[in-house]
Symmetry: C2
């Protein structure tokens, strides 16, 4: 079972879109996939037609009580994806876990404690570097870092890499990082400069696939399904399918 | 003195870009402007060439100690904009103010306590609905809500409006709201549908100007200057200048 988190403290750089669509594409490639929504805004849940406001028992209970992951998992209709959904109460986890020992390892424990066996667990995280994101990092083998073609996104990446290094030296847990360029429109020179900087920062640990700007990706979320199920011939579906293939190829070399 | 906050809990919908460029354009129209950076990520400061890592005394001290706004204000070089900068320590404000009485009114008090007189104070806020955003709301006459053309941005807006209503009934402080459509590429039907929904949600309280997708806006931040100073003939500069004109026109009717 491989656990992959989608991480970037920058807002709106494509984390949720990546989490949802990587799940959709891996599931179409016959892998059993669980999406863990660790964002209080619950956008990954929402983008798979699970309204956070209807979530009575979700990731908040899993993170702060003895609730197991299996108890909160729902099936996203129209797909065979399993989702552990979130709602706004997840924003209280920071205070609730404030003095708890081993608070960065809660999610890892719950994932390891699962009876059910998935091929992939994909974790969506919020735009912040707090306890939720640390739990996502601590629980993963691989962290995908979506980076949009803007200055702020690039600037934050340096900070993110430092923190991940710090955490891995502190916990002995080495998480593999790989950058994913998102919302790319190749026609501008500025974009090519940003791509070049990403490749330098990540020393080549960058997905070959670039996620192009594609309105179908936005439409898919408004229909509550992954792009793979909304429009499999779109540029968005092709790009995320290529990312899923790269992720599968990493199994072999792992 | 008019205080304007830029608010939306959705990540990456153009808050910082709007805060910076509204300041730049108002300043070119000869108004004295102060930008208050209330985001721990410090992007508004960064986009005006003020590195958050060099901020020893900034908005954290203003929000949690007796430090006055004037003590932290810096001039953004290359412009005549004043900036009250932020750094990552601002993320501790939540805990530091947790049990303080009147904690949503800290920023309002500090703005009212300023000796200096500005025509406009523009507040950039983080992608969350916590104590920092509540302070921004409590301190403002007008809240601009940038909304990108995506499903999540639109969905969050309903929640935001509810919360603002709640806060205004609770505090008696009525803040005026106005939506600003951002990153618009008019060619898609999906965009037109989103624009229509925004107009309905805000009952017409929407800026007539649409901020078009324009790579020059991204380049300007990487050069640490507002678009008005980077490329005044670009679509980005024209659009934000039009927004500034609409804001000035609101003075007359206020
Ligand atoms: N490649 C793309 N082409 C077009 N639109 C996209 C693309 N990727 C993401 N979007 C849209 O951009 C917006 C931001 O993306 P998304 O919500 O996935 O980012 P995020 O990093 O999860 O944001 P947050 O920090 O708020 O959690 C969404 O409306 C999404 O539909
Ligand atoms: N109209 C536009 N055209 C092109 N790029 C834009 C436009 N508006 C914003 N951007 C870029 O999109 C990215 C996100 O914008 P910005 O950082 O202003 O959003 P934000 O709401 O402040 O994000 P956060 O929630 O992280 O604070 C930035 O890289 C910015 O340069
Ligand atoms: Mg998200
Ligand atoms: Mg911002």
């Amino acid at each position: 079972m491989r656990v992959i988190s989608v991480i970037n403290q920058k807002g709106g750089c494509g984390k949720t879109t990546t989490a949802i669509n990587l799940c959709g594409c891996l599931s179409q490639l016959n892998r059993r996939v669980l999406l863990v929504d660790l964002d209080p805004q619950g956008h990954a849940s929402l983008g798979l037609n699970l309204n956070p406001e209807d979530v009575r028992c979700g990731m908040t209970e899993v993170m702060t009580q003895s609730t197991g992951l299996e108890e909160v998992i729902r099936v996203a209709d129209g797909t065979n994806l399993d989702v552990a959904p979130a709602n706004i109460t997840l924003s209280t986890v920071e205070q609730l876990l404030a003095d708890a020992a081993g608070k960065e390892g809660r999610l890892l424990n719950k994932i390891e404690g699962m009876q059910r066996n998935y091929d992939y667990v994909i974790i969506d995280s919020p735009p912040s570097l707090g306890i939720l994101t640390f739990n996502a990092l601590r629980a993963s083998d691989l962290s995908i870092v979506p980076i949009d073609m803007g200055f702020f996104s690039l600037h934050g990446v340096t900070k993110l890499i430092e923190i991940i290094d710090l955490v891995s030296r502190h916990t002995g847990h080495k998480v593999q990082l790989r950058a994913l360029a998102t919302m790319v429109s190749l026609r501008t020179r500025f974009t090519r400069e940003v791509l070049e900087e990403i490749r330098q920062h990540f020393e080549g640990n960058v997905f070959r696939t670039l996620i192009r700007n594609n309105v179908r990706l936005r439409e898919a979320t408004s229909h509550g399904v992954p792009i793979s199920h909304y429009d499999r011939r779109s540029a968005g579906a092709n790009d995320y399918r290529a990312v899923a293939e790269e992720v599968l190829a990493m199994e072999v070399s792992a």
